[in-house]
Amino acid sequence: MDFLQLGSYTFSSHLILGTGKFSSATVMLEAVRASGAQLVTVALRRFNRDQPADDLFSPLRAVPGITLMPNTSGASTAAEAVRAANIARELSGSPFIKVEIHPNPQHLMPDPIETFEACRILAKEGFLVMPYIAADPVLAKRLEEVGCASVMPLGSAIGSGQGLATVEMLNIIIRESNIPVIVDAGLRSPSEAALAMEMGCGAVLVNSAVAVSDNPPAMAEAFAEAVSAGRKAFKAGLMSKSSLAIATSPLTAFLGAKV
């Protein structure tokens, strides 16, 4: 069996689902079930203990077989993210924390400096730290060094649906990484998720593409199948893409020639 290993946790599904942006908690739960996801992320700011109808956390906790990964979306500094992570662990009991730090609440671009600092602290505090980052190979290694359970580089801007715009950087991150690389943000179609998995990603995280679809449960299932197919293809080993043309007059004919 091929597992996604995050810290001491293993998951047979390689699809992680985001839970914002859905038209209702009911539709979101149907999509979670249809996706077969075993790890789902939910923003701490969408926890609402006072009002069950507005709360995303409690209905998710009631779904058997899934592990919750709270996220710090809304935090703009390391200090805020660390504070949020501790509240989230207290409320959810989950050791996972998806570190999302956006200095500007509009662009939703992750701040590498604050993210690094928050991850360093949270990993020391025993969290399974899953940082959302720009597709930066050096930052990915720095985060691995401080003990993150994975790195989650963006495929393209959140909610942009531009797919794997960062493919060159993702390939380097995957090649160099000893921890799972999870593409987070930007995926629009199942084929893009399959491609990410074929490239060697450990998992993909999808939210908008499913939530905004006309039929979120069906789209969630389509992503699950694509992720599974992409993963199998990666494990089986893709045929080489190289189609080297051989020059008619060999360029290396001089090698070993008699002098």
């Binding site: 038209s23 009002q51 109808a53 507005d54 500094t77 805020e80 949020a84 509009q106 400096i113």
Partner: protein, 365 residues
């Protein structure tokens, strides 16, 4: 007379918006609506974030010709004392509200900065997210508000036409056009995470005001790169004093403006209040607007004192209950979101950053 800032007359990036706002050009309202809907859906999903206004005080020192609380109106004046404020907050919590906008008039000795700060402090213990729409303050005062749990300041320029502005604001501190114009920047320097901008539609040429509003948004975004910015589209409503808007904005023009702003600013929160009708708000949900007020009472004490027949700052148009409003959103496949913030993120935007950047960025025009 202080001259206008460069950014207000600079049109580097407002040409596209100008074209979209021009109804005589070929871009049809329907094609703008489609583009606006798609962008909104991708970026914000099928959700609508809700908030409610809470009037702390209707004392005022200014004479805005269009306002029901202007200092020459006969409206009874009062302010909420701490116990009344707690009752008001408790009544709002019963409605499910977690995100509130605290309002006062212009600065007076009856409702001054200390009063506002105390009120923010009380509200921050009860609610998840606090914004303030009040008088212009100093950077130091904004920082104190941010420290007490206020995350956003709403401050409308009302109109960017200086001549009209000075005529409409007949007396009082609000008469100073430049002072008002510089206020959002001061709020951000004071560590506010978000500023809400807007023009009061009906006061002046709406196209000119929309373009200047956009320039203001872009200027603030380039200078204060961490800043969240939201844009509101308030249309003048009937109010005490009977002011007739000289530049009425019809439904189609307002829709065009909202779509154009969404396309020009895909990530910015766009706000529509209960000044608009239920049908108009329902129609706009999902097409560009991402934040709406609900259950608005525009009187001081309007939530816990339901027998209050006083006239508010303006007449609310969409007077549906939270439940009715939520049902209408759900029927449109949109989730109403009451809590979309976490107090763990309160505090000045630059206050606890890992590495401080004391250098203020200078816009390159």
């Amino acid at each position: 007379m202080t001259s206008l800032p460069d950014w207000l007359t600079y049109n580097r990036d407002s040409a596209t918006l100008a074209a979209m706002l021009d109804s005589s050009l070929s871009t049809s309202l329907e094609s703008l609506a489609t583009e606006s809907r798609d962008l909104t859906l991708r970026r914000f999903g099928r959700t609508m974030t809700l908030y409610a206004p809470l009037y702390l005080s209707n004392f005022c020192s200014s004479g805005c010709a269009y306002c029901g609380f202007a200092s020459d109106r006969k409206t009874p004046r009062r302010r909420l004392e701490p116990d009344e404020l707690r009752r008001e907050l408790s009544a709002m919590k019963q409605l499910g509200i977690t995100d509130i906008l605290l309002l006062t008039g212009e600065r007076t000795h009856n409702a001054d900065f200390d009063y506002l700060l105390r009120s923010v402090d009380i509200a921050a213990h009860e609610m998840q997210r606090i914004s303030v729409e009040s008088f212009p303050m100093s950077i130091k005062e904004y920082r104190a508000l941010a420290d007490s749990g206020c995350t956003a300041i709403t401050i409308y320029q009302e109109t960017y036409n200086r001549e009209r502005y000075e005529n409409l604001h007949r007396w009082g501190p609000k008469k100073d056009f430049i002072e008002r114009l510089e206020t959002p920047a001061r709020a951000l320097e004071g560590g506010m995470k978000t500023v809400g901008l807007g023009v009061l539609l009906g006061l002046s040429d709406p196209r000119e005001d929309a373009l200047n509003l956009y320039r203001h948004v872009r200027y603030l975004g380039r200078t204060y790169w961490r800043a969240g910015i939201s844009v509101s589209f308030p249309r003048l409503r009937p109010q005490t004093g009977g002011y007739e808007p000289p530049f009425p904005v019809d439904d189609h023009s307002l829709a065009r403006m909202i779509f154009a702003f969404r396309i020009a600013l895909p990530d910015v929160e766009l706000v529509l209040s209960t000044r608009e009708s239920a049908a108009y708000r329902d129609g706009m949900a999902g097409l560009g607007i991402t934040r709406m007020s609900i259950e608005s009472r525009t009187t001081v004490g309007g939530y816990h004192d339901l027998d209050n027949n006083e006239k508010g700052q303006f007449d609310v148009f969409d007077d549906r209950s939270a439940q009715e409003f939520c049902n209408a959103m759900r029927a449109k496949n949109i989730e109403p979101v009451f809590k979309n913030w976490e107090p763990a993120y309160n505090g000045p935007a630059d206050g606890n950053s890992t590495i401080l950047h004391p250098v203020k960025l200078q816009p390159c025009l």
